[in-house]
Each structure stands twice: as structure tokens, then as C-alpha cells.
């Protein structure tokens, strides 16, 4: 906050980097999934193509103001989440606006976009929208539990809720990473991470087969472009968050890419080899194994 304009400029730079990183990451993942399935797959830059394509669509319909604002909420949520996090440890221009709040702010801001989107989609009047939202929200509440417990364990471990300080405490080699110093919390957090990334087996709410028409098809044109762009931000932001929390953070971009990519791959691979859970099953799963793990993590610091 020394210099407002500098901060702003830095924020734009980091946003630009992360946007492109997120888009490419998405493309790579498509490719990988296709290869695993035995297909050739789309090119890596397919997300850019998609984005340009949907932006070019002229017809767009709106069901009302909330419908219209839904993608705005969503995109704000994605960008905001990213902006409230420090991206690279010790790199001044990659700190974004992390002075605004600590870990709690970041966690809670995840909901901002989801809630807004949910409101917008629900106004479409299509019954599948609320169904999808219901599934998504239900699952989030379950997966947040182990995550929250993991975060609490970290806060207890480091005596702080500031992400920067948590990352700082992990500097100096793998031995200081939380995955080593606090494996139980990391385990709980990573299991929650699977759910939060919304890949299989926890992707019922976006299940394209069962719900052919949901928010993505009610929204056209720029609405959709906002949502796709947001996906890049949102996914990367979450990856960065987990990297910061459990895997020592990153001090430069290659490390960042390496760590986040690996993290993403974990979810992708698990998703590829697993069938989809029904909603009840995934909720039950989250409040059993991951939650118990989380509770153990927390109990370690309670006594």
C-alpha cells in the first residue's frame, strides 16, 4: 500500500499472467484427459478459441437483471479471490491486494462468485439450474469441512492466519513444507481440494450427461465468456491457495507453474480413474474420511 498505483499495476500484471496460465492449463488438461481416454484431443490453445468464439456470438438472451448479473458476480468472485492472495512469496509485484485480509477472507470469498452465479442461474427459470446449484452447494458445504479443519490446524500450527506468514514459515526446503510438518492437515486439505476442484468423482453438479441444459447453455455470448475466463482465474487461484498452504508456496514463476500443475494433475488423474459419485455418496464421503482426518489434525493441536 506504499504506492497505490504501483500496487494496481502489479495486480494487472499478475492477473494477466495468471489468466493465460489458467487458459493453457485448461487446454493441457483437455488434452491429457483425451489421451487417457485414447483420443487425440483438442489443441492446447482450445480454451482461447472457445473464448473468442463465444464472444463472437451475437444472440444473447436475458431472463432478468439477476440473470444478467450472475456472470458478473461470478467473474468478480474469481478475480477477487485471486487478488486477495499473495501469489509468489517474497516477490513484491506478485502480492496482489493481500493486505486486505487474511486466509479467512480468501476462504469466504470463494463463495461470493458461487452465490452470485447461483442467483443468476436460478432466475433463468429452468428447473435444472437450481438442481445443479443445489448439488454444487450441498457438496461445497461438505467439502469445506475438512478444508476448514485443515486451515484451522495450520493456523494453530503457525499461530497466524496470514497466508504470507504461513508461506514464510515453510521456506527453506521440503522439510519445512506443511505436507511434511503437518501431514494430517495436508491430507485433510487435499481431500477437500478434490471436492473443491470439482472434478470427478465430485462433479455431479456439472454433470453434462444428466443435465444437458444448465447454466452453461442458458448463458450465451459474453455471459459465457465471462464464465470461461473466470474458470481460468478461479482454478488457478485455488491451486495457488493450496500450494501456499501445504506445499511451501512459490518464490518464482517456474516453481509456481510446477507446483500448481502437479496439484492440478492430481485431481485430474483421480477424476479420470474414478466414476462419478452421487451427491449423497460424495457428501457422506466428505464427512467421513476427510472430516475425521481433519478432526485428528485439529485435535493434535488441541491437546
Amino acid at each position: 500500500m506504499e504506492n497505490f498505483w504501483t500496487t494496481l499495476l502489479y495486480a494487472f500484471i499478475s492477473m494477466f499472467i495468471i489468466f493465460n496460465y489458467g487458459m493453457v492449463l485448461g487446454g493441457v488438461v483437455y488434452k491429457i484427459i483425451a489421451r487417457v481416454h485414447g483420443r487425440f484431443g483438442p489443441p492446447v490453445w482450445q480454451p482461447y478459441i472457445n473464448l473468442v468464439k463465444v464472444m463472437g456470438v451475437r444472440t444473447a438472451i436475458s431472463h432478468g437483471i439477476m440473470f444478467w448479473l450472475g456472470p458478473v458476480f461470478r467473474f468478480t468472485g474469481g478475480i477477487g479471490l485471486f487478488l486477495f492472495m499473495p501469489v509468489l512469496f517474497g516477490v513484491p509485484w506478485m502480492q496482489n491486494f493481500s493486505f486486505s485480509g487474511d486466509l479467512l477472507l480468501v476462504i469466504y470469498f470463494i463463495f461470493f462468485g458461487q452465490l452470485g452465479m447461483a442467483l443468476g442461474a436460478a432466475e433463468s427459470g429452468h428447473p435444472y439450474s437450481p438442481m445443479g446449484i443445489m448439488r454444487g452447494l450441498s457438496q461445497v458445504t461438505a467439502s469445506e469441512v475438512p478444508f476448514a479443519l485443515a486451515v484451522i490446524a495450520l493456523a494453530a500450527q503457525h499461530g497466524t492466519l496470514s497466508i504470507t506468514e504461513i508461506v514464510a514459515a515453510q521456506q527453506g526446503g521440503i522439510a519445512n513444507w506443511n505436507i511434511v510438518t503437518n501431514p494430517v492437515a495436508t491430507l485433510a486439505g487435499m481431500m477437500a481440494f478434490l471436492g473443491m476442484m470439482m472434478h470427478a468423482p465430485f462433479n455431479l453438479h456439472i454433470a453434462p450427461q444428466e443435465i444437458p441444459i444448465g447454466p452453461p447453455t442458458e448463458y450465451q455470448s459474453n455471459f459465457l465468456s465471462y464464465m470461461q475466463a473466470n474458470r481460468a482465474f478461479f482454478a488457478s487461484a485455488k491451486l495457488i491457495l493450496f500450494m501456499n498452504l501445504f506445499f511451501g508456496g512459490a518464490t518464482n514463476i517456474p516453481v509456481l507453474v510446477g507446483k500448481t500443475f502437479s496439484l492440478y494433475m492430481i485431481t485430474v488423474f483421480i477424476g479420470v480413474v474414478n466414476p462419478r459419485f452421487t451427491l449423497e455418496n460424495s457428501i457422506r464421503w466428505f464427512i467421513r474420511i476427510p472430516t475425521v482426518t481433519g478432526i485428528i489434525a485439529v485435535l493434535i493441536y488441541t491437546f
Binding site: M55, T59, A60, I61, S62, G64, M66, V72, T76, I79, G80, L83, F84, F97, F99, S100, G101, D102, L104, L105, F109, F111, F112, L115, A118, L119, A122, E123, G125, H126, P127, P130, M134, R135, L137, S138, V140, T141, E144, A148, L149, I152, A155, T160, L161, S162, S221, N222, Y226, T278, L279, E280, I283, R284, I287, I295, V298, L299, Y301, T302
Partner: protein, 1050 residues
């Protein structure tokens, strides 16, 4: 001064001569009769004034010109004069009441009444034990005759049972008298009492006094030797029953009271417990009653038992001179007037079953009197019964007799249960018609009694331990406002609402600036909330006179609660608040059951609180300041637990939450906002006071604050969980409220500066949000006429303002940045983690994510999705509702951007107790763990949002707007929009997975508690078989039991 012997002489003389007027002078009879009655009333008034005003000295009357103990003497002192006065006045009223019956029966009925009065006066005046017996017989025989006067089979059989009981009682009284006489050589009470101590033959003396005691136990209708009494109350005409229950019982009691000094402490102890047992069991059995008069009979018996019990205890302590006016008299008067009045009301209603009393409302005055009497009888303030019980509980606690208090309060709860249930029935109109049997004489008599009762009430209210100099104003305020508004029946309702608002505003203007500390937040919240929520009530169109008075009573009592200086003030306001809110809830449609549940839970909580006070009270001699909790004593933790339960009930903590959904949902829509936004904070205020005074004691190994934190966390989680499955918007919000208040409790339990800051911040937040949400929902319900969410849908187009309000409300409540809800959550988690309560943190976090589910459901099911055909033409909610909502929204935004304004003040209030916990760097608040800059967050989010919105607007200038129903299913359109609104049982899969969390364990538990209470009640009352012989058996059984207890032989 007219010698009181003239009362006896005149009554008797007139009684003797009246039969002469039967034939020829029948016109003259009534005149002579009433003249005699009025004469007695005047004479007793004269003495009453002499003692009350001039403080005269006790006066003795010797008959036969010889000094006692040779002759019989009478005595009139302060207490006698008071009792004489009310007895004779009520007797006069009774004569008026029975005018019709008297004129039907003829002059002999007058004789009976005159002699009844004679007997009662004699009972009160005499100081000779055998004379007492004679007057008791006179009373009894005139009562028998009055009972049998209507020559109905029921009254005859009741009278016969009474006579057998009375015969036994007098036989044993004679036996006792002669035994005691043979030992003491005198019949004079004072002489007996004096010489009783020196008697060598203690065993015989104890037998003698036990016989006397026994006979009074029968006459005073003590359990279980009282089956006949209940039959009498049920079978007799209400006019007579009222007299028996009121003046009859009082005089018999006073006779008993006079003899009590004769008994040893062991015997008195038996009397004390016997009376309490009567109180407890009679009330328990009363719960199952549906016959009005029998129910009153049970209550009457119970009250007598209590009064006797307390009197015996006072003699045990040797403190009777003080306890009589402080405890016995208020209890007695409370019983006396209410019971007389209620019996007489029963005489104006044709139906005997409580369930058929619905249309008593046809007569507003009668109904008002009825309600007031019921409340007085249930022991609510400001009636004498309240003062009596309050003083009793505290005095008992000084005697360390806590078990007594438990039983006493349990009995009181039973009594309140059946009385309030009955009152509740009459508050609902039903189809029964013409149940009133209007009779102006009866009305007049009733009004006389009620007027005296009011005078007594005012007297006790004015002298009732209130510190009038210090903050006393607050305690008159609710009543002044309430009654003031009630007495203005002819002005329009809207004007009343405006008057209420202006009073609040003026009060706040003069009052708030002088405030400081934590109380200020509550005051500010109650006053501002009261002001704006009252604004919403101006939308009302119905002409209901009781709404604004009750509302003002509730708000006033909340203010009084916050400003109370001591536990009496506190409890007094608490009870008034409970009561007024009960009636407010009861106003809603179909709310009878729910409001009853509410008031029963609240009362039970209040009684436990009272118990808690009692456990702490002995710690500091005689003071009632909150300071008594700071003094550690033997029972500190128990006291803390009990008081906490009282507050937990009001906060609807888990397990004690059964009332919340129903009463919030069934209350009128604008009232629900008051309940959730304001009333739910009363329990919080209680905790604030309690924790400040007491800290957090530990019970054995358990840190009570820690336990409290779990209660708070579980309440937050389960409350939220229950909210997501509700179909009814108001029930959903009610459970949401429960969950949110759970957070506040959790915050307070942390007992750190940060925790309290969090709790108070959350409280303000919750107040604003629930104000918005309940009012918005009220507006929706007002327009659509339903509160079932799935029946609505798509209302965003019709009610955009309401939608926006709800949207801000849910964003704030769910804790999503940038609105205030996040601030509350942030403070809470920081505090919890700082404290090291990680599991609770996790649970609170879980609860807050679950909250999204109901938030979304609320807004989706009502405003989004497909609109319904029948609501195609609904309009936006009225401005009366919208304006307060937007005021609150503005407040939320203000606090969201500048939370420092609020947090700084809260910290300042909390600092004196817990020290500094937060530091500031510009707009960034820094705790020991983390930091938060609300202004920056708001700015960033706002800027990004606006930029993106503008971007979208530029890119999509021409969006094709379609109707809501423009959706496609695989290229087909479903025909009815109803089918496509996915809202019913919205979270079904979630329920399948998580439903085990909300299994109704608490409901089942409380249901089984209630059911077993009723079962016991029903089983127990079966001992009253209606067979006179069984009653004789009971009576003799009591004698034998009494004997074996008192002598403790073999």
C-alpha cells in the same frame, strides 16, 4: 371506633330477625340484609384505616366483662383488620353477585350469607380455641347450606361429602382441644401457646396439637384429604364456590395461622412440607382438568397449601411478623381475589369445559378481567403473587432450603401450564356462541372484587422492593405505555403506532446519550430496532386494540431489562417481556399451541433462573444487586448453570429450541421481525450480565464456559441444519435465527475481548439482517398470502425491491465478503482460534457453509425460478415494510465499509473487562492472528464488479429480453410453470446424507416429558374417585400418617 363485637352482634341480630320479614315485610328484608353487610364492611374499613393509616395498636375485646383466660377475647390488629376488610367487602360483593339466587330462595338465603360472614369474621377475630371451633362450625354449616341451596344432585352430593369431612374434622378438633386444655388448663390461644412450653407430658401435648393440626389440614383442604373439596368446587354454584375459595379459605387459613405457634418446630415442619406437597400435587393434577370449576378448585387447594406451608415455615423461623406481610399476605391476596373473580366469571359463562370458552371475547371487559386474573394467578408481575413468590424464593434461599424452591417452582409451572392453556383458548375466537350469561349484578360484584384487587396490586407494586429513586422510571415505562395505549381505544391504530414511535424516539433522544458500556448497545439496538420495526407495523389495517399496547409493553420491558440495577428488576422485566411476547405470538393465526409451548419453555427457564438467583442470594446478605454473582459461594457453578438455562431457553439453544420455529412462524408477520431481531437478544443480554458478574466458573472438572461454547456451536450447526429443510419461509428464518444466536453464545463463551467483540458485532449484524429478512418475507406474505416457499417463485419481477433486500440480507448473513457478515465471522474465528477451541471453530465453519444452503433456498424459492399463475398480479410489498428494510440495508453497508465505527465502540465497551484485543492500522484491523481491511475489500470488490458489469454492458448492449417462462426442455416447452419451479424439498439428497443430524431427539425428549407429566397427573387424580367413603379413607389415612411422622414412633 366501633367495637368489632358489633359486627358479630349486628350480623347475628339481623340474621335472627330476618325470617320475620319473610311473609309480610318481604320488601324490607333485602334492605336490612344489605344494611347489615354494609355495616360490617364499614366497621372493618374503619379499623383497616385505623391500622394502616394511623398505625394503631392491636386492640383486644373482652367479652362477658371478665378478662381472659376466663372469658373469650377477640383481637383486632393490623392483619386482622386487613383480612376483615377484604372479607367483608368481598362478602358484600358476593351478596350482590348472588342477588338472583337470593331472591329466588328467599330470605333464608340472606340469613345463610349473613351467618357465613359472621363465622368468617369470628374466625378472624377470636383468640379462643374453642370459640374458633364454634365459628368454624358456623362457617361450615352455612357453607353446607349454601352449597345445597340450589338442590341439584351434584351440589347435594358434594355437600354431603363435605359434611362427612367436616364432621371428622370437628371431632378431631374437639379431641385436640380437650387434650390441650387438660394439659394447659386454658382455652385461650395466647395462654395455651405460653404454657405449652412448660408442659411435662410432651407426648400427650404432641398428640393433642397433632389432632388440632389434622383437623385444620382437613378444613384447609390439604392433599390428599381434599377430594371432597374439589367436588365441592365443581359441584357448587360459582357464586358460592367463589366465596368458599376466597373468603372461606382465607378465614380458615387465618384460624390455622393463629394456632400455629402452638406447634413444635417438628410439627411445623410437617405442615410446611404437607402444604408444599399439596401445592405441588394439586397443580400437577390440575393439568389434566378440563372442567373450569374443578380446575379452579385444584388451583385453589394448591394456593391454600402454599400459603399454609409458608406460614408454618415462618413460625419455624420465628420470623412470622416479617414474613406474614411480605410473603403470606401477597400470596393470600393473590389467591383470594383471583380465585373469587375467576369463579364468578365462571358463573357468567354457561359452559363448564375450558375448551368451550372461546367466545368469552364477546364481552371485552369480562375477557380483560379474565386474562388479568389468570395472569395474576399464574404469578406474573406486577401482581401480588409475583412479589409473594419472589420474596418467598429469596427468603427460602436464606434458609438454604433449596429443595423447597424446586418443588415450589415446579408446582408453579404446572399451575401456569393449565391456567395459560385455558387463557390461550379464550384468546382465540371460536364458533361457540352465546356462552355468556350476562347479569349486571354479577358483573358489578366482579368489578368490585377486581377493583380491590387492582388496589392491592398497585399497593404491592409501589412497595414491592423497587428502588424508586434509581432508574425506577424504566419499570413504570412499559406499563405506562401499555396501559396508556390500551386506554386510548378510540384513536386509529395508525396513530397509536405513530405515538409509539414518537415515544421511542423521544426516549432514545433523551436517554441514549447518557448511556455507556455494553448496555448501550442493547439499548441502542432495542430503541432503533423498535422504532423502525414499529414503522412497518403501520401497514396494519385491522382494528386490534391489544397490538400496540402489547408491543410497547414488550419493548418497554426489553429496555427495562437492559437498565435493571438488580436481579429483581431484571427478573421483573424478564417476566413482563415473556408475557407480552407470549401474547404477541398468540395473536397470530393458529398459534395457540406454538405460543403455549413458547411461554411454557420461557417460564420454565425463568423459574430456573430464579432458582439460580436463589442459590446465589445467600452469598451477600440481603442485597439483590448483580454483585451477588461475583461473590463466590457454595453453589456458584450450580447457580450459573441454572441461570444460564433460563437464558438458553430464550436464545433457543439446542435442546431448548422447540418453541422457536413454531412461534416465529405463527406469530403475525410483522411481529416475527420483533421476535427475531430484538427479543432473541434478551437471552444474550442475560448472558452478558451473567458472564460479567460471574465470570465463567467451573463445575468440578468442567469449565462451564467451555461447555457453553459447545452448546453455542452445536446450536449454530443444528439450527442451520434444520433451517435448510423447512418449506415455510418463516420457520426457515426462525431456525436461521437460532443458529445465528448460537454463534453469539459461542462468542460470549470465549470470554476474551476478541470473542466478545465478535459476539456483539454478530449480534448487531443479526439484528439488522433479521430485521430485513423478516420484514421482506412479511411483505411477500402480505401480498401472496402464503408462507410456503414452494408455492411462490419468480417474484423478482413483481417485487424487485423486496428481492434486493433479501439478496443483501442473505449475503450479509452468510458471511460472504464484503458485507458485515464476514466481519462477524472473521472476528469469531480469530477469537476461537486464539482461544484454541479448534473443534468449535470447525463446527462454526461448517455451520456457516451450511447456511448458504438455506440462504439460497430462501431467495430462490420465493423470488427466482418460475412464477405461479395465481401470483401473476401481485404488487411490490408496501412501503411501510420496504422503508425499514432499506434503512437497515444502509446500516449494513455503512458498517461493511466502516466496521471500525462499530468495532471501536464495542472494543471500548468490552475493554474494561477483558483488555485490549484489537489494534488498528488505518482501516486494517489486526488481531493476534490475522488482519482484515474491510474498506479495501469493499473497494476492490466494488471496483471489479462495476468494471466487469460495465464491460458486459458495453459488449452486450442489446440483449434479447425474454419472459421467465421462456425455457426449453429438449426443444419442448412444459405446459405449466408450476411444474418447472424446483423448490419443494429442495435439499432432499442432502437430507438423505445429513438428515441424521436433525433427528428430533429434543422433540421426542420433551414430548415424553410432557406426556409423562400428563400421565402422572391423570393417574394421580384417580385417587379422587368421587366416592365419599374413599375421601373418608383418605382423611383418616392422613391422620395416621401424620401421627407416625410427627411422633416418629415405632
Amino acid at each position: 371506633m366501633v367495637n368489632p363485637i358489633y359486627i358479630i352482634a349486628v350480623l347475628l341480630g339481623i340474621g335472627f330477625i330476618l325470617p320475620l320479614t319473610e311473609k309480610k315485610l318481604s320488601k324490607l328484608g333485602p334492605w336490612v340484609f344489605y344494611a347489615g353487610m354494609i355495616f360490617t364492611a364499614l366497621v372493618s374499613y374503619q379499623w383497616f384505616r385505623f391500622f394502616i393509616v394511623s398505625g394503631g395498636e392491636t386492640y383486644h375485646i373482652f367479652t362477658a366483662g371478665v378478662k381472659p383466660p376466663l372469658s373469650i377475647n377477640l383481637q383486632i390488629g393490623l392483619f386482622e383488620s386487613v383480612l376483615l376488610f377484604v372479607t367483608n367487602l368481598t362478602g358484600l360483593a358476593g351478596a350482590v353477585y348472588m342477588t338472583k339466587q337470593i331472591s329466588e330462595t328467599g330470605v333464608r338465603a340472606m340469613v345463610l350469607l349473613l351467618l357465613l360472614l359472621l363465622g368468617l369474621n369470628g374466625l378472624i377475630l377470636t383468640r379462643d380455641i374453642f370459640n374458633l371451633f364454634v365459628f368454624m362450625e358456623i362457617t361450615a354449616i352455612s357453607t353446607y347450606s349454601l352449597i345445597g341451596m340450589d338442590v341439584k344432585s351434584r351440589s347435594l352430593s358434594a355437600g354431603f361429602k363435605y359434611m362427612t369431612a367436616g364432621g371428622l374434622a370437628s371431632a378431631f378438633l374437639l379431641l385436640g382441644i380437650i387434650i390441650v386444655y387438660s394439659l394447659t388448663g386454658t382455652l385461650n390461644l395466647d395462654g395455651m401457646i405460653r404454657s405449652a412450653e412448660g408442659i411435662k407430658n410432651v407426648k400427650l401435648l404432641s398428640i393433642g396439637s397433632m389432632m388440632i393440626l389434622f383437623s385444620f389440614i382437613i378444613e384447609a383442604k390439604q392433599f390428599p384429604a381434599n377430594g371432597w373439596a374439589l367436588d365441592v368446587y365443581e359441584g357448587t354454584k360459582p357464586g358460592v364456590a367463589g366465596l368458599i375459595s376466597g373468603i372461606g379459605t382465607t378465614a380458615v387459613f387465618f384460624g390455622f395461622y393463629k394456632i400455629m405457634p402452638l406447634f413444635t418446630n417438628e410439627t411445623l415442619k410437617i405442615v410446611m412440607w404437607a402444604g408444599l406437597i399439596t401445592f405441588f400435587f394439586s397443580n400437577l393434577m390440575g393439568m389434566k382438568q378440563e372442567n373450569v370449576k374443578r380446575m379452579l378448585g385444584y388451583s385453589s387447594v394448591a394456593q391454600t397449601g402454599l400459603v399454609i406451608s409458608v406460614s408454618a415455615w415462618s413460625f419455624m423461623l420465628g420470623n412470622d411478623k416479617l414474613i406474614f406481610p411480605m410473603i403470606v399476605l401477597p400470596l393470600l391476596f393473590n389467591h383470594f381475589f383471583t380465585k373469587t373473580g375467576l369463579f364468578w366469571i365462571a358463573g357468567l359463562v354457561k359452559k363448564d369445559t375450558t375448551g368451550l370458552w372461546g367466545s368469552i371475547t364477546e364481552n371485552k371487559i369480562l375477557h380483560g378481567i379474565f386474562i388479568i386474573l389468570i395472569l395474576a394467578l399464574s404469578g406474573f408481575p406486577p401482581f401480588p403473587g409475583f412479589w409473594g413468590k419472589w420474596n418467598l424464593v429469596l427468603a427460602m434461599s436464606l434458609d438454604s432450603n433449596f429443595f423447597y424452591i424446586w418443588v415450589l417452582l415446579a408446582g408453579s409451572l404446572f399451575e401456569a401450564a393449565y391456567l395459560l392453556k385455558w387463557a390461550g383458548i379464550t384468546l382465540k375466537k371460536d364458533k361457540s356462541k352465546d356462552i355468556l350469561e350476562y347479569n349486571s349484578y354479577k358483573m358489578l360484584a366482579l368489578q368490585i372484587v377486581v377493583l380491590i384487587f387492582f388496589a392491592v396490586t398497585v399497593y404491592y407494586f409501589m412497595t414491592g422492593n423497587f428502588d424508586h429513586t434509581n432508574g425506577g422510571l424504566h419499570f413504570y415505562l412499559p406499563f405506562a405505555l401499555g396501559t396508556g395505549l390500551l386506554l386510548l381505544p378510540f384513536i386509529p391504530e395508525k396513530l397509536k403506532g405513530m405515538i409509539s414511535m414518537s415515544v421511542i424516539a423521544v426516549y432514545a433522544f433523551y436517554f441514549l446519550p447518557d448511556q455507556n458500556g455494553i448496555g448501550r448497545f442493547f439499548n441502542a439496538m432495542f430503541l432503533s430496532g423498535g422504532f423502525f420495526l414499529t414503522f412497518a407495523t403501520l401497514n396494519r389495517k385491522d382494528r386490534s386494540r391489544s397490538f400496540y399496547p402489547l408491543l410497547m409493553l414488550m419493548l418497554g420491558s426489553l429496555i427495562a431489562l437492559v437498565n435493571s440495577d438488580n436481579i429483581l428488576h431484571f427478573f421483573f422485566s424478564w417476566e413482563i417481556m415473556t408475557l407480552s411476547s407470549y401474547f404477541l405470538i398468540h395473536r397470530g393465526k393458529g398459534s395457540a399451541e406454538e405460543s403455549f409451548r413458547y411461554v411454557m419453555f420461557s417460564l420454565a427457564g425463568a423459574f430456573l433462573m430464579l432458582l439460580g438467583f436463589a442459590y446465589s442470594f445467600p452469598n451477600l446478605n440481603g442485597q439483590m444487586s448483580f454483585g451477588i454473582f461475583a461473590v463466590p459461594g457454595q453453589f456458584t457453578s450450580l447457580s450459573f448453570i441454572l441461570i444460564s438455562i433460563g437464558f438458553l431457553v430464550k436464545s433457543a439453544a439446542l435442546g431448548l429450541h422447540l418453541w422457536i420455529a413454531g412461534s416465529y412462524a405463527k406469530a403475525e408477520d410483522d411481529t416475527s421481525a420483533f421476535l427475531s431481531a430484538l427479543l432473541s437478544k434478551a437471552g444474550i443480554f442475560g448472558f452478558v450480565m451473567l458472564l460479567l458478574a460471574m465470570g465463567a466458573p467451573s463445575a468440578g472438572k468442567f469449565d462451564l464456559a467451555y461447555i457453553l461454547s459447545w452448546i453455542g456451536a452445536l446450536t449454530a450447526l443444528i439450527g442451520t441444519m434444520m433451517a435448510i429443510y423447512e418449506e415455510d419461509a418463516k420457520r426457515l428464518l426462525a431456525y436461521s435465527s437460532m443458529g445465528q444466536v448460537g454463534y453469539i453464545i459461542l462468542g460470549l463463551a470465549i470470554m476474551s475481548g476478541l470473542g466478545w467483540t465478535a459476539a456483539l458485532f454478530q449480534m448487531v449484524n443479526h439484528f439488522l439482517i433479521k430485521g430485513i429478512l423478516f420484514l421482506a418475507i412479511a411483505g411477500v406474505i402480505y401480498r401472496t398470502g402464503t408462507s410456503e416457499m414452494y408455492k411462490m417463485g419468480g417474484l423478482i419481477k413483481k417485487m424487485p425491491w423486496s428481492f434486493t433486500a433479501v439478496m443483501f440480507g442473505i449475503i450479509a448473513i452468510s458471511g460472504v465478503p464484503p458485507l458485515t457478515g464476514f466481519g462477524a465471522k472473521w472476528l469469531m474465528y480469530e477469537a476461537l482460534i486464539e482461544k484454541g477451541w479448534y473443534l468449535q471453530t470447525g463446527m462454526a465453519f461448517f455451520a456457516s457453509t451450511v447456511a448458504f444452503l438455506y440462504c439460497f433456498r430462501l431467495i430462490h424459492a420465493i423470488f427466482l425460478g418460475q412464477p405461479k399463475t395465481e401470483f401473476r398480479n401481485v404488487k411490490e410489498a408496501p412501503a411501510w415494510f420496504l422503508i425499514p428494510q432499506y434503512v437497515f440495508i444502509m446500516a449494513i453497508f455503512f458498517f461493511s465499509i466502516f466496521p471500525r465505527v462499530l468495532i471501536d465502540r464495542i472494543s471500548a465497551a468490552v475493554e474494561p473487562f477483558f483488555g485490549k484485543s484489537l489494534t488498528w492500522d488505518g482501516n486494517t484491523v489486526i488481531s493476534s492472528l490475522g488482519y482484515w481491511n474491510a474498506t479495501a475489500v469493499m473497494t476492490i470488490v466494488g471496483v471489479v464488479f462495476v468494471v466487469l458489469a460495465i464491460g458486459l454492458f458495453i459488449k452486450l448492449p442489446k440483449v434479447q429480453k425474454v419472459k421467465q417462462f421462456n425455457i426449453v426442455f429438449a426443444a419442448e416447452r412444459p405446459e405449466t410453470p408450476e411444474l418447472t419451479h424446483f423448490a419443494y424439498e429442495f435439499f432432499r439428497p442432502y437430507r438423505r446424507a445429513m438428515g441424521w443430524m436433525v433427528r428430533p431427539y429434543a422433540t421426542r425428549f420433551w414430548r415424553s416429558v410432557t406426556e409423562s407429566a400428563y400421565t402422572v397427573s391423570d393417574a394421580l387424580r384417580k385417587i379422587y374417585t368421587g366416592n365419599g367413603q374413599t375421601y373418608i379413607f383418605h382423611i383418616l389415612l392422613v391422620l395416621v400418617i401424620l401421627f407416625y411422622i410427627s411422633t416418629g414412633v415405632k
